[in-house]
Assembly symmetry: C2
Homo-oligomer: 185 residues x 2
DNA sequence: ACCTGAACACCGTTCAAGT
DNA sequence: ACCTGAACACCGTTCAAGT
């Protein structure tokens, strides 16, 4: 019951996971979806638009994970920590998708914009609730951006191999714990 | 007096700045360096190795900038803030080079590893000195990783368009200021 | 030791045509 | 409305050969 368009997106995502970005060719995407090598052009403007659809799907998935993690937390502070941990776990588990989702797009796909807003909102929600409960002193948007940037940056540095391997630097998990502790102190 | 190898790296960097990653083709690199389209293969194993050399050059440049910014600071705290600001300014001024420097490389170029260590050391130095002076309470490597990750992440989110445009989220500069204030409080 | 030119396989994109 | 097959321009890489 999946449309050709959906199958194309799924095929691209699958190729991305298995062989990295350079493995995603329109010819292979078509073959995996059971259509010709240029059927994608009937559903997407070009290759970049197809990849943007993959990125959007990924961001919506991330938003869902963060949302569920927050909801099952016992306190406002635990919800913040759960959001940070869920974000880091997702990124470390799917490094290629993570990198794709934060590429500088040369287009402005409305679906991609909506998905990005969804992910941002999911991450910000526990901060708004913590601020209402008086758990954090800082402006919630400022606090949320700091934690988001910290976790995102730690993961990116880790994935690109820039954090020292000898243990002299902190891991993404350390950074998440430290920053939440600092903000709720 | 520049060698062909140097000219190839410079040509690649120039093309990268002007037209983005997809503008860097070995044919155009060769043409710009005044050699044939496959002369690069006499100096680099493949295209990825050439790009790794560009990334290494960029990381050394970043290390120099951070170093100079720290040295001209009036206090230990000012040195930390200067390092963070220098990092963010460099990244925002050269977004394409920034993205290239933090790509997940499928090779282990020794020159790239050394350059990465150089950049990391430059960023960590003011934290070691601040810890010695008693300005920060946290372990210096932990504090440095937090600030580094925060600034790096804020810039990456900003460049990929994930920070809201309506001003509801903080800018990379805000994040740098907030995180340094939190750590030295 | 360093470079060139031809050649090969592959890819994104376009186009005319099919149902 | 959706898809196909041929074709085009382009790119990374290899190879035989040149100085």
């Amino acid at each position: 019951v999946t449309s050709t368009k959906d199958r194309l997106v799924l095929a691209a995502a699958s190729l991305l996971d298995e062989g990295g970005p350079e493995a995603v060719t329109l010819r292979e995407v078509g073959r995996l979806a059971g259509v010709s090598h240029n059927a994608p052009y009937k559903h997407f403007a070009d290759k970049e638009s197809l990849l943007a659809a993959v990125a959007a799907r990924e961001l919506r998935s991330l938003a869902g994970r963060v949302d569920r993690a927050c909801r099952s937390a016992a306190s406002e502070r635990a919800a913040i920590e759960a959001a940070a941990v869920a974000y880091a776990r997702w990124a470390l588990a799917h490094p290629v998708r993570f990198k794709l989702a934060f590429v500088r797009w040369g287009l402005d796909d409305p679906g991609l914009g909506e998905a990005a807003t969804l992910a941002r909102s999911a991450f910000f929600r526990p901060f708004l609730e913590a601020a209402r409960a008086g758990v954090i002193a800082l402006h919630p948007a400022r606090a949320a951006t700091i934690v988001w940037a910290s976790v995102h940056g730690a993961v990116d540095l880790h994935l690109s191999g820039h954090l020292a391997k000898d243990g002299s630097t902190a891991t993404p998990g350390d950074v998440a714990a430290d920053i939440v502790a600092l903000l709720t102190a």
